[in-house]
Symmetry: C2
Subunit: 338 residues, 2 copies
Amino acid sequence: MRVSLKDVAERAGVSIKTVSNVVNNYQHVTPGMRARVQAAIDELGYRPNMTARHLRKGRTGILALAVPELGNPYFAELAGAVIDVAAEHDLTVLLDHTGGDREREMLVSQGFRAGVIDGLILSPLELEVEDLRGREDDVPLVLLGEREYDLPYDHIAIDNVAAARTAVRHLLGRGRNRIAYLGVRTDSANRPAHLRLAGWREELTAAGVPAPDSLIGPTGGWDRGDGAEAMARMLDAGVRPDAVFAYNDLVAIGAMRVLHERGLRVPWDVAVVGFDDIAEGRFGAVSLTTISPDKRAIARLAVESLLRTLENRAEAPAGRELTAEFRLVERESTLGRR
Amino acid sequence: MRVSLKDVAERAGVSIKTVSNVVNNYQHVTPGMRARVQAAIDELGYRPNMTARHLRKGRTGILALAVPELGNPYFAELAGAVIDVAAEHDLTVLLDHTGGDREREMLVSQGFRAGVIDGLILSPLELEVEDLRGREDDVPLVLLGEREYDLPYDHIAIDNVAAARTAVRHLLGRGRNRIAYLGVRTDSANRPAHLRLAGWREELTAAGVPAPDSLIGPTGGWDRGDGAEAMARMLDAGVRPDAVFAYNDLVAIGAMRVLHERGLRVPWDVAVVGFDDIAEGRFGAVSLTTISPDKRAIARLAVESLLRTLENRAEAPAGRELTAEFRLVERESTLGRR
DNA sequence: CTCAGTCTGTACAACGTTGGAAGGAACGGC
DNA sequence: GCCGTTCCTTCCAACGTTGTACAGACTGAG
């Protein structure tokens, strides 16, 4: 049986509350009493029951983080950052992955962990705005990823359009003018995918470079295999880009693999830019130029937004758009051919 | 304010317990009563308070998983598997990463989450056996990774020596006889690293092939950069292996990067075998032959071991060694030169 | 029509903790 | 020696839930 305050109190010959006072460093406890109680605590090996404390305090100190897929290094790295930042605030993280499934994202957002988590950080893929509108749950929520809406939840994003334009501009600056975009799925609610495509189009148009549909590579998802398929399909169709901007690093890596198989050399024949700056991109045979979102900042903004909401429950949450920085990291995949 | 059973009870004009009975699908409730209470529940939007339920039941349905580093795809993929398996048993997973730091591993194993988790799955890197010996915590524990000890905790592993021998045998079968091992750290408690080295040595010795120390590449850690450094150091020392067996895929990938930089072609000049079968290995310019541990099985064994311990608390836990399967996955990095 | 047996709903206590208020001892000042 | 203060400790209630015991109502058999 677990040791409780009661056991310690009996052992020390004091009341339960006095033991509690010692445990919580309450100030008005005489040194003698403190020592006596502490001795009993040590002897019995007492450890506070967090569940009871949570019930009493109405707070658990647990945040949930729901991402589409932990196997995706971007989300794994982001999760690591969230865990670290949460730890700085004495919070722990309960992790969930939704598989990017809309149903499961709805379930998670509806708070099926009600009462056990203090807040939820959700990185949705297919969730629609209206799915959140009728939300009855009182658990504070923060959304990751740029979205357009008028809901009372903070959301953290980087400026996807600007980032995509930066990537495309970089390629244009390298003398490329048949720049493909890989990673569109018309049937997906994933806004960043649309925004990055928009940025690609905007930058090309602004530079007076054609942006034909043939240079847009649709994918079924956003993993390495999807990138490989999309690249292969484009090449099979006789389209020969001299550069590729991919939705994310995984798609870019899949594309590079196919380019390599087809004897097209990166960066000489085709330059490649990814998105996310996952560690994997730094160590391929050809290291990957990429847009690097500040993951640490994203984690920090998310956790602190939740804390803020928890502090002043009374006031209506802001529904702010919090923006994290990004930067272009140049590596081998866009070197050469000045 | 949150809606509680009491509020629903008042609204429906019944006792608290009756509402509880409805919520828990207790059998002896008349349909009429059930409907009336359900209506009140729906009107008020009642959701059970899990914390209170946990306190009452003495169970939280939360498992903790502590791994060294989520940025390491092996652990990220493993974590994903654990989350899935846990979900099948209606359990959720609280994730922690220790950074492979002994202090932090001790802290985690000592159960600083006491009362909030039902069990702990720990994947230690530097934890020593004696660190666990005085464990006072009553939270069920399962250890991941092969270890030698006599403690009352189940541990899940694959047969590292056999796996390493399989990898080396594969290379020998490809006509390689200067096979390096990359990823030793003499100062580390990480047993699998030692076991894999032992397997390398055993297999070479059994085949009558020399296993000189010059072919052993020490590393500071087990990430891509460590593999790259170790490979570079070995080549700089004038050692020219015709194959590399690496502690894990990350080390292998780092090594391949350096081989590529130095103009050594994989697999023609140097064949490479990794360990872990992370997704990343399948999509490099040269896909990576690797030992593939059954991660799903590992996750399943771990979760089910905890459940078993929870069921029969009374009996002493077994301290069993549970073994998961592995297999060699052949890819491009060991093709050719029959 | 009575009695046993079954069914339905209620009252109470308990899980382990903490906040608030009240109790009691020690102490100094008069 | 009495009183007011201060300081420390204890008592009580509450967080929201569920298990146990029990009371009342209804059913069917004798």
